[in-house]
Protein backbone atom coordinates (compact mmCIF):
# COMPACT_ATOMS: atom_id res chain seq x y z
CA UNK A 1 0.00 0.00 0.00
CA UNK A 2 1.15 3.48 -0.84
CA UNK A 3 2.19 5.50 2.16
CA UNK A 4 -0.76 7.52 3.30
CA UNK A 5 1.12 10.81 3.23
CA UNK A 6 1.83 10.11 -0.43
CA UNK A 7 -1.85 9.56 -1.17
CA UNK A 8 -2.62 13.12 -0.08
CA UNK A 9 -0.22 14.31 -2.80
CA UNK A 10 -2.43 12.67 -5.45
CA UNK A 11 -5.20 15.15 -4.61
CA UNK A 12 -4.49 18.69 -5.84
CA UNK A 13 -7.09 20.23 -3.51
CA UNK A 14 -4.76 19.69 -0.58
CA UNK A 15 -2.64 22.53 -1.91
CA UNK A 16 -5.44 24.82 -0.75
CA UNK A 17 -5.24 26.87 2.40
CA UNK A 18 -8.55 27.47 4.17
CA UNK A 19 -8.61 30.47 6.48
CA UNK A 20 -4.83 30.52 6.44
CA UNK A 21 -4.42 26.83 7.33
CA UNK A 22 -3.79 23.74 5.22
CA UNK A 23 -7.10 22.03 4.48
CA UNK A 24 -8.15 19.09 6.65
CA UNK A 25 -11.06 17.49 4.80
CA UNK A 26 -13.30 15.39 7.03
CA UNK A 27 -16.45 15.45 4.91
CA UNK A 28 -15.86 12.67 2.40
CA UNK A 29 -19.24 11.08 3.14
CA UNK A 30 -20.86 14.15 1.55
CA UNK A 31 -18.49 14.02 -1.39
CA UNK A 32 -14.91 12.87 -1.75
CA UNK A 33 -12.06 14.87 -3.23
CA UNK A 34 -10.73 13.90 -6.65
CA UNK A 35 -7.26 12.57 -7.45
CA UNK A 36 -5.25 14.05 -10.32
CA UNK A 37 -5.79 10.83 -12.31
CA UNK A 38 -9.55 11.35 -12.36
CA UNK A 39 -9.23 15.02 -13.29
CA UNK A 40 -6.77 14.09 -16.04
CA UNK A 41 -9.10 11.42 -17.43
CA UNK A 42 -11.95 13.92 -17.72
CA UNK A 43 -9.70 16.55 -19.30
CA UNK A 44 -8.22 14.01 -21.72
CA UNK A 45 -11.70 12.95 -22.78
CA UNK A 46 -12.70 16.51 -23.66
CA UNK A 47 -9.34 17.36 -25.21
CA UNK A 48 -9.00 14.31 -27.39
CA UNK A 49 -12.11 12.18 -27.74
CA UNK A 50 -15.27 14.21 -27.24
CA UNK A 51 -18.20 13.13 -29.44
CA UNK A 52 -21.67 11.76 -28.90
CA UNK A 53 -21.97 8.03 -28.37
CA UNK A 54 -23.81 5.29 -30.25
CA UNK A 55 -24.69 7.68 -33.06
CA UNK A 56 -21.94 8.69 -35.41
CA UNK A 57 -19.85 6.65 -37.76
CA UNK A 58 -16.89 9.02 -37.49
CA UNK A 59 -13.69 8.25 -35.62
CA UNK A 60 -14.37 10.39 -32.56
CA UNK A 61 -17.87 8.97 -32.18
CA UNK A 62 -16.38 5.51 -32.26
CA UNK A 63 -13.66 6.37 -29.71
CA UNK A 64 -16.15 8.00 -27.39
CA UNK A 65 -18.50 5.03 -27.56
CA UNK A 66 -15.67 2.65 -26.85
CA UNK A 67 -14.44 4.69 -23.89
CA UNK A 68 -17.96 4.80 -22.50
CA UNK A 69 -18.47 1.05 -22.80
CA UNK A 70 -14.99 0.29 -21.44
CA UNK A 71 -15.86 2.41 -18.42
CA UNK A 72 -18.99 0.34 -17.92
CA UNK A 73 -16.85 -2.80 -17.97
CA UNK A 74 -14.37 -1.38 -15.47
CA UNK A 75 -17.01 -0.19 -13.02
CA UNK A 76 -19.23 -3.28 -13.25
CA UNK A 77 -16.20 -5.53 -12.75
CA UNK A 78 -15.25 -3.52 -9.68
CA UNK A 79 -18.53 -4.42 -7.93
CA UNK A 80 -18.41 -8.04 -9.06
CA UNK A 81 -21.10 -7.93 -11.75
CA UNK A 82 -20.83 -10.68 -14.35
CA UNK A 83 -22.35 -8.76 -17.22
CA UNK A 84 -21.42 -5.09 -17.87
CA UNK A 85 -24.87 -4.52 -19.36
CA UNK A 86 -26.38 -5.00 -15.93
CA UNK A 87 -24.83 -1.65 -14.98
CA UNK A 88 -26.89 1.42 -15.85
CA UNK A 89 -25.20 4.81 -15.77
CA UNK A 90 -27.30 7.43 -14.00
CA UNK A 91 -26.50 10.70 -12.22
CA UNK A 92 -26.21 9.46 -8.64
CA UNK A 93 -27.63 7.05 -6.06
CA UNK A 94 -30.79 9.10 -5.79
CA UNK A 95 -31.53 8.71 -9.47
CA UNK A 96 -30.68 5.00 -9.35
CA UNK A 97 -33.23 4.44 -6.59
CA UNK A 98 -35.83 6.57 -8.32
CA UNK A 99 -35.32 4.55 -11.50
CA UNK A 100 -36.30 1.40 -9.61
CA UNK A 101 -39.18 3.10 -7.81
CA UNK A 102 -40.69 4.48 -11.01
CA UNK A 103 -39.98 1.64 -13.41
CA UNK A 104 -40.08 -1.54 -11.34
CA UNK A 105 -42.20 -0.04 -8.56
CA UNK A 106 -45.15 1.05 -10.66
CA UNK A 107 -45.16 -2.26 -12.49
CA UNK A 108 -44.88 -4.50 -9.44
CA UNK A 109 -46.20 -2.75 -6.35
CA UNK A 110 -49.99 -2.74 -6.00
CA UNK A 111 -52.64 -1.77 -3.47
CA UNK A 112 -52.10 -3.58 -0.17
CA UNK A 113 -48.48 -4.49 -0.90
CA UNK A 114 -45.70 -3.60 1.51
CA UNK A 115 -42.33 -1.97 1.02
CA UNK A 116 -39.87 -2.52 3.83
CA UNK A 117 -37.03 -0.09 4.48
CA UNK A 118 -35.07 0.77 7.61
CA UNK A 119 -35.18 3.66 10.05
CA UNK A 120 -31.61 4.60 9.14
CA UNK A 121 -32.27 5.31 5.46
CA UNK A 122 -30.98 8.43 3.77
CA UNK A 123 -33.86 10.50 2.42
CA UNK A 124 -32.98 9.29 -1.06
CA UNK A 125 -33.89 5.73 -0.08
CA UNK A 126 -37.00 6.85 1.79
CA UNK A 127 -38.86 9.57 -0.09
CA UNK A 128 -39.10 7.63 -3.40
CA UNK A 129 -40.77 4.73 -1.53
CA UNK A 130 -43.10 7.08 0.33
CA UNK A 131 -44.18 8.51 -3.01
CA UNK A 132 -44.57 5.08 -4.58
CA UNK A 133 -46.55 3.75 -1.62
CA UNK A 134 -48.85 6.74 -1.76
CA UNK A 135 -49.40 6.41 -5.49
CA UNK A 136 -49.96 2.64 -5.50
CA UNK A 137 -51.81 2.59 -2.15
CA UNK A 138 -49.17 0.32 -0.70
CA UNK A 139 -47.73 0.64 2.81
CA UNK A 140 -44.24 1.64 3.80
CA UNK A 141 -42.81 -0.15 6.82
CA UNK A 142 -39.63 0.44 8.77
CA UNK A 143 -37.13 -2.00 10.21
CA UNK A 144 -36.17 -0.66 13.64
CA UNK A 145 -32.73 0.54 14.63
CA UNK A 146 -31.70 -0.74 18.06
CA UNK A 147 -30.09 1.31 20.80
CA UNK A 148 -26.60 0.43 19.61
CA UNK A 149 -27.36 1.91 16.22
CA UNK A 150 -27.67 -1.47 14.51
CA UNK A 151 -30.46 -2.85 12.39
CA UNK A 152 -32.90 -4.95 14.44
CA UNK A 153 -32.75 -8.15 12.43
CA UNK A 154 -35.56 -9.78 14.39
CA UNK A 155 -37.76 -6.85 13.54
CA UNK A 156 -36.94 -7.42 9.88
CA UNK A 157 -37.93 -11.07 10.25
CA UNK A 158 -41.20 -10.09 11.92
CA UNK A 159 -42.07 -7.61 9.21
CA UNK A 160 -41.30 -9.78 6.17
CA UNK A 161 -44.63 -11.01 4.88
CA UNK A 162 -46.19 -12.44 1.72
CA UNK A 163 -47.21 -8.87 0.93
CA UNK A 164 -43.62 -7.55 1.04
CA UNK A 165 -42.65 -6.70 -2.52
CA UNK A 166 -39.36 -5.00 -1.81
CA UNK A 167 -36.81 -4.63 0.96
CA UNK A 168 -34.55 -1.62 0.49
CA UNK A 169 -31.73 -0.95 2.94
CA UNK A 170 -28.60 1.10 3.18
CA UNK A 171 -25.36 -0.88 3.09
CA UNK A 172 -23.45 1.62 5.25
CA UNK A 173 -25.32 4.33 7.15
CA UNK A 174 -24.14 7.85 6.38
CA UNK A 175 -25.19 8.97 9.87
CA UNK A 176 -24.51 6.10 12.30
CA UNK A 177 -21.68 4.55 10.30
CA UNK A 178 -23.30 1.15 10.79
CA UNK A 179 -22.40 -1.57 8.30
CA UNK A 180 -25.52 -3.60 7.69
CA UNK A 181 -25.38 -7.40 7.26
CA UNK A 182 -26.62 -7.46 3.67
CA UNK A 183 -25.74 -11.11 3.05
CA UNK A 184 -27.74 -12.18 6.06
CA UNK A 185 -30.67 -10.02 4.97
CA UNK A 186 -30.51 -11.58 1.50
CA UNK A 187 -30.63 -15.04 3.06
CA UNK A 188 -33.64 -14.13 5.17
CA UNK A 189 -35.38 -12.86 2.07
CA UNK A 190 -34.58 -16.06 0.23
CA UNK A 191 -36.14 -18.10 3.05
CA UNK A 192 -39.20 -15.89 2.81
CA UNK A 193 -39.39 -16.55 -0.93
CA UNK A 194 -39.25 -20.32 -0.40
CA UNK A 195 -41.89 -20.09 2.29
CA UNK A 196 -44.09 -18.01 0.04
CA UNK A 197 -43.81 -20.37 -2.88
CA UNK A 198 -45.46 -23.06 -0.77
CA UNK A 199 -48.44 -20.99 0.25
CA UNK A 200 -51.46 -22.24 -1.70
CA UNK A 201 -53.42 -19.68 -3.62
CA UNK A 202 -56.65 -18.75 -1.90
CA UNK A 203 -59.45 -21.12 -2.86
CA UNK A 204 -57.10 -23.83 -4.04
CA UNK A 205 -58.34 -27.22 -2.88
CA UNK A 206 -55.79 -29.40 -4.51
CA UNK A 207 -52.83 -29.91 -2.17
CA UNK A 208 -50.57 -30.49 -5.15
CA UNK A 209 -50.43 -26.75 -5.59
CA UNK A 210 -48.56 -26.57 -2.33
CA UNK A 211 -45.48 -27.68 -4.24
CA UNK A 212 -43.75 -24.65 -5.70
CA UNK A 213 -43.69 -24.48 -9.47
CA UNK A 214 -41.07 -21.78 -9.28
CA UNK A 215 -39.61 -19.66 -6.56
CA UNK A 216 -41.63 -16.59 -5.69
CA UNK A 217 -40.14 -13.50 -7.32
CA UNK A 218 -40.82 -11.28 -4.28
CA UNK A 219 -39.55 -9.66 -2.19
CA UNK A 220 -36.64 -8.12 -4.05
CA UNK A 221 -33.68 -6.58 -2.26
CA UNK A 222 -32.30 -3.16 -3.15
CA UNK A 223 -29.14 -1.97 -1.46
CA UNK A 224 -28.14 1.70 -1.23
CA UNK A 225 -24.38 1.39 -1.51
CA UNK A 226 -23.52 5.11 -1.67
CA UNK A 227 -21.36 4.92 1.48
CA UNK A 228 -20.07 1.39 0.97
CA UNK A 229 -18.43 1.26 -2.47
CA UNK A 230 -15.80 3.92 -1.65
CA UNK A 231 -14.74 2.30 1.61
CA UNK A 232 -14.97 -1.47 1.52
CA UNK A 233 -14.82 -4.29 -1.04
CA UNK A 234 -18.27 -4.82 -2.61
CA UNK A 235 -19.37 -7.82 -4.63
CA UNK A 236 -23.01 -7.74 -5.68
CA UNK A 237 -23.12 -11.45 -6.55
CA UNK A 238 -21.72 -12.36 -3.17
CA UNK A 239 -24.13 -10.03 -1.34
CA UNK A 240 -27.10 -11.66 -3.03
CA UNK A 241 -29.07 -8.49 -3.71
CA UNK A 242 -31.21 -7.66 -6.75
CA UNK A 243 -30.35 -3.97 -7.15
CA UNK A 244 -27.34 -1.97 -5.97
CA UNK A 245 -27.14 1.84 -6.18
CA UNK A 246 -24.06 4.06 -5.77
CA UNK A 247 -22.67 7.50 -6.61
CA UNK A 248 -19.42 8.28 -8.45
CA UNK A 249 -18.72 11.49 -6.56
CA UNK A 250 -18.39 9.74 -3.19
CA UNK A 251 -15.82 7.28 -4.58
CA UNK A 252 -13.31 9.84 -5.89
CA UNK A 253 -15.03 10.11 -9.28
CA UNK A 254 -16.73 13.13 -10.85
CA UNK A 255 -20.09 14.54 -9.81
CA UNK A 256 -23.05 13.77 -12.05
CA UNK A 257 -22.28 10.10 -12.63
CA UNK A 258 -23.64 7.21 -10.62
CA UNK A 259 -24.75 3.64 -11.17
CA UNK A 260 -27.60 1.24 -10.79
CA UNK A 261 -26.68 -2.40 -10.95
CA UNK A 262 -29.55 -4.85 -11.33
CA UNK A 263 -29.98 -8.53 -12.14
CA UNK A 264 -30.33 -8.98 -15.86
CA UNK A 265 -33.61 -10.91 -15.72
CA UNK A 266 -35.22 -8.24 -13.58
CA UNK A 267 -33.94 -5.28 -15.60
CA UNK A 268 -35.05 -6.95 -18.83
CA UNK A 269 -38.66 -7.10 -17.70
CA UNK A 270 -38.80 -3.53 -16.42
CA UNK A 271 -40.30 -0.73 -18.52
CA UNK A 272 -38.10 2.28 -19.34
CA UNK A 273 -37.83 5.10 -16.79
CA UNK A 274 -37.13 8.13 -18.98
CA UNK A 275 -37.87 7.93 -22.68
CA UNK A 276 -36.56 9.63 -25.79
CA UNK A 277 -33.43 9.33 -27.89
CA UNK A 278 -30.76 6.69 -27.59
CA UNK A 279 -33.03 4.04 -26.15
CA UNK A 280 -35.34 3.13 -29.01
CA UNK A 281 -35.40 0.45 -31.66
CA UNK A 282 -38.08 1.87 -33.90
CA UNK A 283 -40.40 4.80 -33.58
CA UNK A 284 -43.47 5.49 -35.71
CA UNK A 285 -46.13 8.10 -35.15
CA UNK A 286 -48.02 6.06 -32.60
CA UNK A 287 -45.70 3.39 -31.27
CA UNK A 288 -42.15 2.83 -30.12
CA UNK A 289 -40.11 -0.26 -29.40
CA UNK A 290 -37.20 -0.04 -27.04
CA UNK A 291 -33.66 -1.29 -27.20
CA UNK A 292 -32.18 -3.80 -24.79
CA UNK A 293 -29.92 -3.30 -21.80
CA UNK A 294 -28.40 -1.03 -20.76
CA UNK A 295 -29.54 1.55 -23.35
CA UNK A 296 -33.22 1.10 -22.45
CA UNK A 297 -32.51 2.96 -19.22
CA UNK A 298 -30.14 5.59 -20.58
CA UNK A 299 -32.35 7.98 -22.51
CA UNK A 300 -30.64 10.99 -24.04
CA UNK A 301 -26.95 11.87 -24.29
CA UNK A 302 -25.14 10.29 -21.37
CA UNK A 303 -22.40 11.74 -19.16
CA UNK A 304 -19.51 10.14 -21.03
CA UNK A 305 -16.79 12.24 -19.39
CA UNK A 306 -18.29 11.34 -16.02
CA UNK A 307 -18.21 7.64 -16.82
CA UNK A 308 -14.62 7.90 -18.03
CA UNK A 309 -13.67 9.77 -14.85
CA UNK A 310 -15.45 7.17 -12.72
CA UNK A 311 -13.53 4.37 -14.41
CA UNK A 312 -10.31 6.26 -13.65
CA UNK A 313 -11.40 6.50 -9.99
CA UNK A 314 -12.04 2.76 -9.91
CA UNK A 315 -8.57 2.06 -11.30
CA UNK A 316 -7.11 4.41 -8.72
CA UNK A 317 -8.92 2.55 -5.92
CA UNK A 318 -7.87 -0.82 -7.32
CA UNK A 319 -4.28 0.41 -7.31
CA UNK A 320 -4.49 0.99 -3.57
CA UNK A 321 -6.69 -2.03 -2.85
CA UNK A 322 -10.07 -1.92 -1.15
CA UNK A 323 -8.91 -4.19 1.68
CA UNK A 324 -6.12 -1.73 2.45
CA UNK A 325 -8.53 1.18 2.37
CA UNK A 326 -10.86 -0.56 4.78
CA UNK A 327 -7.96 -1.31 7.14
CA UNK A 328 -6.75 2.28 7.01
CA UNK A 329 -10.21 3.63 7.79
CA UNK A 330 -10.71 1.26 10.71
CA UNK A 331 -7.45 2.55 12.14
CA UNK A 332 -8.52 6.15 11.70
CA UNK A 333 -11.92 5.49 13.25
CA UNK A 334 -10.32 3.79 16.21
CA UNK A 335 -7.95 6.73 16.69
CA UNK A 336 -10.82 9.21 16.42
CA UNK A 337 -13.01 7.44 18.97
CA UNK A 338 -10.05 7.04 21.32
CA UNK A 339 -9.13 10.71 20.91
CA UNK A 340 -12.64 11.85 21.70
CA UNK A 341 -12.52 9.50 24.67
CA UNK A 342 -9.04 9.83 26.11
CA UNK A 343 -9.15 12.81 28.47
CA UNK A 344 -12.16 11.19 30.12
CA UNK A 345 -10.64 10.27 33.41
CA UNK A 346 -13.84 11.12 35.21
CA UNK A 347 -16.10 9.74 32.51
CA UNK A 348 -19.78 9.68 33.27
CA UNK A 349 -21.61 7.09 31.27
CA UNK A 350 -25.25 7.05 30.46
CA UNK A 351 -27.58 5.31 28.06
CA UNK A 352 -29.96 8.20 27.84
CA UNK A 353 -33.47 7.52 26.65
CA UNK A 354 -32.74 4.12 25.14
CA UNK A 355 -31.48 5.92 22.09
CA UNK A 356 -28.49 5.02 19.99
CA UNK A 357 -26.41 7.20 22.27
CA UNK A 358 -23.31 5.21 22.94
CA UNK A 359 -21.91 7.04 25.87
CA UNK A 360 -21.39 10.46 27.21
CA UNK A 361 -17.78 11.32 27.52
CA UNK A 362 -17.12 13.88 30.17
CA UNK A 363 -13.76 15.36 29.38
CA UNK A 364 -11.73 17.32 31.85
CA UNK A 365 -11.57 20.18 29.35
CA UNK A 366 -15.25 21.10 29.65
CA UNK A 367 -16.38 19.14 26.59
CA UNK A 368 -19.08 16.51 26.77
CA UNK A 369 -19.15 14.34 23.67
CA UNK A 370 -21.89 11.91 22.76
CA UNK A 371 -20.87 9.52 19.99
CA UNK A 372 -23.67 7.99 17.93
CA UNK A 373 -23.72 4.54 16.40
CA UNK A 374 -22.04 1.19 17.08
CA UNK A 375 -19.33 0.96 19.73
CA UNK A 376 -16.71 -0.94 17.81
CA UNK A 377 -14.63 0.51 14.94
CA UNK A 378 -14.84 -2.91 13.22
CA UNK A 379 -18.64 -2.66 13.07
CA UNK A 380 -18.69 0.74 11.48
CA UNK A 381 -17.44 2.58 8.49
CA UNK A 382 -15.04 5.54 8.59
CA UNK A 383 -17.45 8.13 9.87
CA UNK A 384 -18.52 9.32 13.32
CA UNK A 385 -21.43 11.61 14.17
CA UNK A 386 -21.67 13.17 17.60
CA UNK A 387 -23.25 15.87 19.71
CA UNK A 388 -21.18 18.09 21.92
CA UNK A 389 -21.75 20.17 25.02
CA UNK A 390 -19.34 22.75 26.32
CA UNK A 391 -19.63 23.57 30.01
CA UNK A 392 -23.00 21.80 30.14
CA UNK A 393 -24.46 23.73 27.23
CA UNK A 394 -25.24 21.81 24.05
CA UNK A 395 -23.49 23.42 21.10
CA UNK A 396 -25.33 23.39 17.78
CA UNK A 397 -23.64 21.42 14.98
CA UNK A 398 -23.42 24.50 12.78
CA UNK A 399 -21.50 26.36 15.46
CA UNK A 400 -19.12 23.41 15.86
CA UNK A 401 -18.59 23.29 12.10
CA UNK A 402 -18.06 27.04 11.90
CA UNK A 403 -15.35 27.03 14.58
CA UNK A 404 -13.62 24.09 12.89
CA UNK A 405 -13.79 25.86 9.52
CA UNK A 406 -11.94 28.80 11.01
CA UNK A 407 -9.08 26.35 11.57
CA UNK A 408 -9.21 24.97 8.02
CA UNK A 409 -11.15 21.84 9.00
CA UNK A 410 -14.20 20.74 7.00
CA UNK A 411 -16.89 18.69 8.77
CA UNK A 412 -20.60 18.33 8.14
CA UNK A 413 -23.35 19.48 10.48
CA UNK A 414 -27.13 19.16 10.37
CA UNK A 415 -29.40 16.15 10.04
CA UNK A 416 -27.38 14.50 7.22
CA UNK A 417 -30.58 13.75 5.26
CA UNK A 418 -31.74 11.34 7.98
CA UNK A 419 -34.41 13.53 9.57
CA UNK A 420 -36.84 10.91 10.94
CA UNK A 421 -34.08 9.09 12.83
CA UNK A 422 -32.75 12.38 14.26
CA UNK A 423 -36.27 13.10 15.50
CA UNK A 424 -36.61 9.61 16.98
CA UNK A 425 -33.34 10.04 18.86
CA UNK A 426 -34.35 13.52 20.01
CA UNK A 427 -31.50 15.16 18.11
CA UNK A 428 -31.69 18.48 16.30
CA UNK A 429 -28.38 18.85 14.54
CA UNK A 430 -25.31 16.66 14.87
CA UNK A 431 -21.73 17.05 13.69
CA UNK A 432 -20.16 14.37 11.48
CA UNK A 433 -16.53 13.55 10.77
CA UNK A 434 -16.07 11.28 7.76
CA UNK A 435 -12.87 9.90 6.27
CA UNK A 436 -11.41 9.36 2.85
CA UNK A 437 -8.27 7.49 1.83
CA UNK A 438 -6.24 10.69 2.12
CA UNK A 439 -6.91 11.29 5.83
CA UNK A 440 -4.24 10.74 8.44
CA UNK A 441 -3.99 10.56 12.21
CA UNK A 442 -2.44 14.01 12.02
CA UNK A 443 -5.75 15.28 10.53
CA UNK A 444 -7.60 13.84 13.52
CA UNK A 445 -5.16 15.46 15.93
CA UNK A 446 -5.71 18.84 14.32
CA UNK A 447 -9.46 18.29 14.52
CA UNK A 448 -9.29 17.47 18.24
CA UNK A 449 -7.13 20.52 18.87
CA UNK A 450 -9.64 22.75 17.12
CA UNK A 451 -12.50 21.14 19.03
CA UNK A 452 -10.88 22.38 22.21
CA UNK A 453 -11.45 25.95 21.08
CA UNK A 454 -15.19 25.50 21.47
CA UNK A 455 -15.45 25.79 25.26
CA UNK A 456 -13.22 28.87 25.02
CA UNK A 457 -15.49 30.58 22.52
CA UNK A 458 -18.87 29.57 23.89
CA UNK A 459 -17.76 28.98 27.47
Amino acid sequence: MKFINLIKKDFPIFNRQINGQPLVYLDSAATSQKPQEVIDAVVDYYWNHNANVHRGIHTLGDESTRLYEESRKTVSGFIGAKDPNELIFVRNSTEAINLVAYSWGRQNVNAGDEILISEMEHHSNLVPWQMLAERQKATLQYIKVDKNGKLDILDLKRKLSPRTKLVSVVHVSNFLGTINPIKKIAEMIKKQKILQSRIPLRGTKNKRFLQPLSLSSYPLLLVDGAQAVPHTPVNVKDLGCDFYAFSGHKMYGPMGIGCLWGKREILKNMPPFLTGGGMINTVDWQETTFTGLPDKFEAGTPNVAGAVGLAAAVKYLQGIGMENIRKHEIELTRHLIASLDSPARNASRSEAGGSARRRLLARNDGLLINILGPKNAQDRSGLVAFTLSANSKEIHGHDVAQVLDSQGIAVRSGHHCVMPLHAKLGLAATTRVSFGIYNTKEDINRFIKALNLIPKIFG
Partner: protein
Protein backbone atom coordinates in the same frame (compact mmCIF):
# COMPACT_ATOMS: atom_id res chain seq x y z
CA UNK B 1 -10.50 32.99 13.78
CA UNK B 2 -13.17 34.63 11.67
CA UNK B 3 -15.08 37.32 13.42
CA UNK B 4 -18.46 35.68 13.27
CA UNK B 5 -18.52 34.92 17.01
CA UNK B 6 -17.71 38.41 18.20
CA UNK B 7 -18.58 39.65 21.68
CA UNK B 8 -22.03 40.93 20.83
CA UNK B 9 -23.15 37.57 19.45
CA UNK B 10 -21.63 35.54 22.26
CA UNK B 11 -23.23 37.89 24.81
CA UNK B 12 -26.72 37.55 23.34
CA UNK B 13 -26.23 33.80 22.78
CA UNK B 14 -25.33 33.25 26.42
CA UNK B 15 -27.77 35.77 27.86
CA UNK B 16 -30.68 35.94 25.46
CA UNK B 17 -32.89 38.98 26.06
CA UNK B 18 -36.69 38.81 26.19
CA UNK B 19 -36.54 35.04 26.33
CA UNK B 20 -39.77 33.39 27.41
CA UNK B 21 -43.51 33.73 26.93
CA UNK B 22 -46.16 36.46 27.22
CA UNK B 23 -49.34 36.17 29.27
CA UNK B 24 -51.79 37.30 26.62
CA UNK B 25 -50.08 37.45 23.28
CA UNK B 26 -51.93 38.77 20.24
CA UNK B 27 -49.88 36.57 17.97
CA UNK B 28 -47.67 33.53 18.37
CA UNK B 29 -45.65 32.38 15.38
CA UNK B 30 -43.21 29.51 15.13
CA UNK B 31 -40.73 29.26 12.33
CA UNK B 32 -38.49 26.27 11.72
CA UNK B 33 -35.36 25.84 9.72
CA UNK B 34 -35.69 22.21 8.77
CA UNK B 35 -32.16 21.83 7.47
CA UNK B 36 -30.66 22.98 10.78
CA UNK B 37 -33.24 21.65 13.20
CA UNK B 38 -33.76 25.20 14.49
CA UNK B 39 -37.08 26.42 15.82
CA UNK B 40 -37.88 29.99 16.90
CA UNK B 41 -41.16 31.21 18.31
CA UNK B 42 -42.05 34.89 18.60
CA UNK B 43 -44.90 36.20 20.75
CA UNK B 44 -46.10 39.78 20.47
CA UNK B 45 -48.70 41.90 22.16
CA UNK B 46 -49.91 45.14 20.62
CA UNK B 47 -49.98 48.32 22.69
CA UNK B 48 -53.59 48.79 23.84
CA UNK B 49 -55.61 51.79 22.80
CA UNK B 50 -59.35 52.44 22.80
CA UNK B 51 -59.39 53.00 19.10
CA UNK B 52 -58.48 49.84 17.18
CA UNK B 53 -57.20 52.00 14.34
CA UNK B 54 -54.49 53.29 16.62
CA UNK B 55 -53.06 49.92 17.52
CA UNK B 56 -49.92 50.49 15.55
CA UNK B 57 -47.21 49.71 18.07
CA UNK B 58 -45.84 46.58 19.74
CA UNK B 59 -46.27 46.73 23.49
CA UNK B 60 -44.62 43.51 24.57
CA UNK B 61 -42.42 40.93 22.91
CA UNK B 62 -40.95 37.58 23.89
CA UNK B 63 -39.39 34.69 22.07
CA UNK B 64 -38.10 31.20 22.73
CA UNK B 65 -36.66 28.33 20.76
CA UNK B 66 -33.70 26.15 20.00
CA UNK B 67 -30.98 27.04 17.59
CA UNK B 68 -27.39 27.80 16.90
CA UNK B 69 -25.49 30.79 18.24
CA UNK B 70 -26.41 32.89 15.22
CA UNK B 71 -30.17 32.31 15.26
CA UNK B 72 -30.31 32.60 19.06
CA UNK B 73 -28.34 35.85 19.20
CA UNK B 74 -30.32 37.07 16.19
CA UNK B 75 -33.66 36.54 17.92
CA UNK B 76 -32.39 38.24 21.05
CA UNK B 77 -30.99 41.25 19.19
CA UNK B 78 -34.12 41.51 17.09
CA UNK B 79 -36.38 41.55 20.14
CA UNK B 80 -34.29 44.40 21.54
CA UNK B 81 -34.61 46.27 18.27
CA UNK B 82 -38.39 45.87 18.32
CA UNK B 83 -38.47 47.44 21.76
CA UNK B 84 -36.59 50.44 20.38
CA UNK B 85 -38.66 51.10 17.30
CA UNK B 86 -42.03 49.67 18.38
CA UNK B 87 -43.93 50.81 15.29
CA UNK B 88 -45.38 47.87 13.35
CA UNK B 89 -44.94 49.65 10.04
CA UNK B 90 -41.24 50.05 10.73
CA UNK B 91 -40.71 46.54 12.05
CA UNK B 92 -42.23 45.06 8.94
CA UNK B 93 -39.67 46.94 6.90
CA UNK B 94 -36.57 45.42 8.49
CA UNK B 95 -34.77 43.79 5.59
CA UNK B 96 -32.54 40.74 5.46
CA UNK B 97 -29.58 43.07 5.09
CA UNK B 98 -30.80 44.94 8.16
CA UNK B 99 -30.90 41.68 10.08
CA UNK B 100 -27.33 40.84 9.08
CA UNK B 101 -26.27 44.34 10.13
CA UNK B 102 -27.97 43.85 13.49
CA UNK B 103 -25.75 40.79 13.97
CA UNK B 104 -22.64 42.82 13.32
CA UNK B 105 -22.45 42.30 9.56
CA UNK B 106 -20.02 39.39 9.45
CA UNK B 107 -22.33 36.51 8.50
CA UNK B 108 -21.02 34.04 5.93
CA UNK B 109 -23.23 33.02 3.04
CA UNK B 110 -23.76 29.56 4.55
CA UNK B 111 -25.19 31.07 7.73
CA UNK B 112 -27.61 33.57 6.22
CA UNK B 113 -30.46 31.12 6.77
CA UNK B 114 -29.67 31.03 10.50
CA UNK B 115 -29.60 34.82 10.66
CA UNK B 116 -32.89 35.29 8.82
CA UNK B 117 -34.93 32.74 10.77
CA UNK B 118 -35.90 35.06 13.66
CA UNK B 119 -36.80 37.84 11.25
CA UNK B 120 -39.14 35.58 9.30
CA UNK B 121 -40.86 34.47 12.51
CA UNK B 122 -41.20 38.02 13.82
CA UNK B 123 -42.56 39.49 10.62
CA UNK B 124 -45.13 36.71 10.34
CA UNK B 125 -46.24 37.50 13.89
CA UNK B 126 -46.49 41.17 13.01
CA UNK B 127 -48.63 40.40 9.96
CA UNK B 128 -50.95 38.33 12.11
CA UNK B 129 -51.68 41.20 14.48
CA UNK B 130 -51.83 43.85 11.80
CA UNK B 131 -55.04 42.47 10.32
Amino acid sequence: MSNIYHDLIIDHYQHPRNFGELKNPDAVVQEANASCGDLIEFQVRVKRSANREQRTEIGEIAWRGVGCAISTAGASLLSERVKQIRRISQISQISQAGMVELLGGDISHARIKCAILPLVALQKAIRNVAI
